[in-house]
Symmetry: C2
Subunit: 191 residues, 2 copies
């Protein structure tokens, strides 16, 4: 395999700046609502010029997108689900990961805003679809993976969203054991 400089060998200044901005945004989210955070707030805390912010993100919504994306990918990588293939066991862990992530988001934020949530939904579903497509393609199947991956993506996100919104959440294990077969049945052909 040749070199894959998709994100690895990046100018140190770029990595540093992005990291500073994301960290500052993380800190600010812990103490203010997303709506009330200005670009200036972020860049001040990051120690970065405001103009530099716009060299990295289109606006603060793009930042939120990158933020959620980063956090969710970390959750995936923590469970080593990023470099594996489809099995019912991995699928179960993936569902657990999404449930926990959304649950954390709901308890972490001061208020669950609609704008915030719908943006997160798109971001997370994109990553889910990308990951599931990878899993299915690695089975070496000749069948198109788009349809099954799409169905599974929406199902998983829907389950996790439902779980996170429950007033009294049941034990996660129990919830997932019950839901898993309904998702797995669509992917049986890849097992």
């Amino acid at each position: 395999m040749s070199s894959k400089p998709k994100e690895e060998r990046l100018d140190p200044r770029v990595k540093r700046t992005r990291s500073l901005i994301l960290q500052a945004f993380d800190d600010l989210l812990a103490q203010k609502e997303f709506e009330t955070i200005t670009v200036q707030d972020v860049t001040d805390k990051a120690g970065v010029n405001r103009a530099t912010f716009y060299a990295h993100f289109a606006d603060k919504y793009a930042l939120l997108d990158a933020f959620i994306s980063q956090k969710f990918r970390q959750e995936i990588e923590k469970r080593t689900l990023n470099a594996c293939h489809y099995t019912p066991e991995n699928l179960k862990n993936l569902i657990i990961a999404v449930c926990e992530f959304l649950s954390k988001m709901h308890s972490g934020c001061v208020q669950p805003h609609q704008q915030f949530e719908s943006l997160a939904e798109g971001t997370i579903k994109n990553i889910l679809f990308e990951l599931l497509s990878l899993w299915l393609k690695q089975t070496g199947t000749k069948i198109s993976t788009d349809i099954p991956a799409t169905v599974a993506t929406w199902a998983i996100y829907g389950l996790a969203s439902h779980y996170a919104h429950l007033k009294k959440r049941p034990p996660l294990e129990k919830f997932v054991d019950e839901a898993l077969p309904l998702v797995a049945v669509n992917l049986e052909q890849f097992a």
Copy 2:
């Protein structure tokens, strides 16, 4: 008073880079001896280019100098001795600060190197002299402060060095109470 941009309003990039280098050096000192640390080691850990290092420090000895200077100044500021005037009480606290700083240096470093120590001595005495001169001048005296400040500087450093090298160090309070009058007598006219 007009603006005093001696170190405050510095280009954020400069502050950032210096901070990264100093922090990396601090980390490295905790696990390697000063002699075995290369400039490359520092810049690698700091995530900074080697050429950039030389834009900030002449060599690794200049870095060591800046490092000790920073640490010592922090020790001074922690005790709010940086913005006050001469009193026997403040003098006592200053002596305590130097004693503790040198003691920490001796136990913190893997080995107390001669090169390391003599460089530290010059650095610390410069800061001491600068601080004492400020204290004495704030009394509004018309007498030249250079001689008294010099004597006090050398005396304080000598005391602290002596204390730090003791095999069995007595309680610091006791040591300083005994030594204080000998230094204070030279500064009585400013009390």
